[in-house]
């Protein structure tokens, strides 16, 4: 416990340098704005802003990215409340009671409680993070290549198996993502794979291009289809005092405290993510409430619970990424990729070899929560003006930012062609409702997965038994199988409940 506090204090010293604080504030503000824009959300937001961090020192880059992430989670609910259009999936549950509150003339209270709940959820989850991070990182030191390989299979399987309806499409998306990582020179043997004689492909397809293409450009293409019919959305930009009453606080306090741990645990599990955390906590709170009939009509606790849970979830999601080096969601996959670009290997050794970076990021989570709350409560009226920017202007600008960002990765304009192709692939995936999160995750961990696979095979002289040799591997296989089976089990349970 003592060394943990010592590390944390050092982390604060790292995070509170003026340059890092500047990026913490800028990142939070940019993240809030990007998170607000419907359809963009944290994953695309971070992907678009990622190139900005290339010139920064590693710690600053990660602090900026974590700030963008939390900012986006804070901002995601603004458009849910004011427009009934969630900024991202995790903010869906905030529409249920947030929008009716705004319609009933309580927009100020809704904006305030969503920021307060996000702050409380994020803060409690960060304390839990501090307690768990070091033991988890130490446990992960027991992992060898076979354990890592199976861990990545678990993370991918859990992400692909989010719903029964899209299970096969999720798996296809995952395999496609892994295939993209096999393009380029094989660094172990020097063999060129799937380059078709194109020199530019020898370096491989950078995962940032995949993410910006599939998420960012794909999203723009999909919106362009019906942009001609776009109607201007009237947004409330004038507010009274953005705060809540004592009565509101009393109604929300326990729902926030109760739902935070649920969000946090869901965040640690790969695949589940903020949307599930928010929806689950909303349903829980509705069942626990003394007046469930008010839910959906503007019950303030119906907004506070999912907001606390989804922010706790975003903190929890950082645990596997930082301590194991294996991300559990699209957004943390991008952050992992950023760490790799900066020349750092995330995972247990990060805490041993670069404690300043690992604990600097953790300290910045505390600071980020405070900064986001400060930005989102008094400045809400100013920031929501972004929502009134029409898509007809916004989308061309997003395309231009995406191209500029992609150029700064390899300084090769040939990457623009890849970006355009992947954008069209992303558009088709949206049309056919193929989940893109498994593709993103696979494109980030694919190379690592192949490497651990080959290392394991070398260790075992080519026998597959090595993947079942240790208890950790067996537990991870069971978890992977369980996550594939879970959508079927939960559907069967729901059907039985319905029949009863």
């Amino acid at each position: 416990m003592g060394d943990m506090l010592g590390h944390l204090m050092n982390g604060f010293a790292v995070a509170m340098t003026p340059y890092n604080v500047l990026w913490l504030v800028l990142g939070s503000a940019l993240g809030t704005v990007l998170g607000m824009l419907p359809g963009l959300g944290p994953t695309t937001g971070i992907a678009l802003l990622l190139p900005l961090t290339f010139t920064m020192p590693a710690t600053t880059a990660l602090i900026a990215m974590a700030a963008i992430y939390y900012g986006a989670m804070f901002g995601g609910s603004r458009s849910s409340i004011l427009l009934n259009v969630p900024g991202d999936g995790a903010a869906v549950a905030s529409c249920f009671d947030g929008y009716p509150m705004a319609q009933n003339g309580r927009a100020e209270a809704a904006l305030a409680i969503s920021a307060i709940a996000s702050f409380i959820g994020g803060l409690i989850a960060t304390v839990a993070f501090v307690l768990i991070a070091l033991p988890m990182a130490r446990f992960a030191l027991k992992f060898g290549p076979p354990e890592y390989f199976v861990l990545m299979i678990f993370a991918l399987a859990a992400t692909a198996a989010i719903s029964k309806a899209a299970l096969l499409k999720g798996l296809i998306s995952m395999v496609f993502g892994l295939m993209l990582t096999t393009v380029g020179l094989d660094y172990q043997s020097g063999t060129a794979r799937f380059t078709f004689g194109i020199d530019e492909l020898q370096g491989g397809i950078d995962f940032v291009i995949v993410i910006i293409g599939v998420f960012g450009i794909g999203e723009v293409f999909e919106n362009l289809e019906h942009i001609a019919r776009e109607i201007a959305r009237p947004v409330q930009t004038k507010f009274g005092r953005i705060w809540i009453t004592m009565e509101d606080w009393k109604r929300c306090f326990w729902p926030m405290i109760r739902q935070t741990p649920i969000g946090f645990v869901i965040g640690i599990l790969p695949g589940a993510g903020g949307t599930i955390a928010a929806l689950m906590s909303y349903n829980n709170e509705k069942q626990l409430s003394k007046h469930p009939d008010e839910f959906g009509k503007g019950a303030i606790e119906g907004l506070a619970a999912p907001e606390a849970a989804n922010n706790a979830c975003s903190v929890g999601a950082m645990i596997p990424m930082l301590t194991l080096g294996v991300p559990g969601s699209g957004t943390t996959a991008i952050m992992l990729g950023a760490l790799l670009i900066l020349g750092l290997q995330p995972g247990p050794l990060l805490f041993e070899q670069h404690p300043d970076i690992a604990w600097g990021i953790i300290a910045s989570m505390f600071l980020g929560n405070v900064v986001c709350a400060v930005i989102n409560i008094p400045l809400a009226g100013l920031l929501v003006r972004v929502l009134s920017v029409p898509g007809k202007i916004l989308y061309p600008l997003i395309v231009a930012v995406a191209f500029l960002g992609v150029y700064t990765i390899n300084f090769a304009s040939m990457d623009f062609i890849l970006l355009t192709i992947l954008g069209f692939v992303g558009y088709l995936m949206k049309k056919f409702k193929i989940p893109s999160a498994p593709l993103i995750l696979a494109s980030v961990v694919g190379a690592m997965m192949e490497q651990t696979y080959r290392q394991s095979m070398m260790l075992s002289d080519g026998t597959f038994g090595i993947f079942f040799a240790s208890p950790i591997c067996i537990v991870l296989w069971l978890l992977a199988a369980g996550s594939i089976a879970w959508p079927f089990i939960s559907e069967a349970r729901a059907a039985r409940k319905g029949a009863a």
Partner: protein, 156 residues
């Protein structure tokens, strides 16, 4: 045909082509000669497998028994803007190194805004384009010291 059956079919075709390509990859000159091939080959097999299951599941339900109004719609009229933007992206690729960041971005963004935001908003489009192009150039080149291609004129 059901949309998911299409997805399955495309996965089978793509997985097959990829799998055959994987088999014909050059062998490693050192170590196990097949080592660069196993992983991609496994992916090709998995893609075909998932595609086949997906297709079979849909075929059992009846390939054409779904609600046709819920299928993804591809109308040329609606997709016109997408194709225009793709063409502009390719043009931007061709211009970028030759004309430099600022000039090519002005042309690219102005053209996109012209088609998407409309012809009657030329002044608004021009202001946005110029602010963005010069603003981004200033941020990246001057503040972040990231070099972007400059124009043949040598400035910007």
């Amino acid at each position: 045909m059901r949309p998911n059956a299409w997805v399955g079919l495309v996965a089978i075709v793509f997985g097959t082509i990829y799998g055959f390509q994987a088999m014909s990859l050059p062998k490693a000159p050192i170590g196990n000669p097949m080592s660069p091939i196993y992983f991609p080959l496994g992916l090709g097999v998995l893609m075909v497998l998932f595609g086949a299951i997906s297709f079979a599941v849909e075929a059992r339900k009846g390939l054409n028994s779904d609600d046709k109004s819920k299928r993804p719609q591809f109308h040329i009229k609606n997709m016109k803007l997408i194709f225009i933007v793709i063409a502009l992206c390719l043009l931007y690729t061709a211009m970028f190194d030759r004309l430099g960041f600022v000039i090519s971005t002005i042309i690219f963004l102005m053209a996109m805004l012209f088609f998407i935001n409309g012809l009657n908003k030329t002044v608004q489009n021009a202001i946005i384009t110029l602010c963005f192009s010069f603003g981004m150039w200033y941020i990246f080149v001057r503040i972040f010291q990231i070099s972007l291609p400059s124009s043949p004129l040598g400035i910007f």
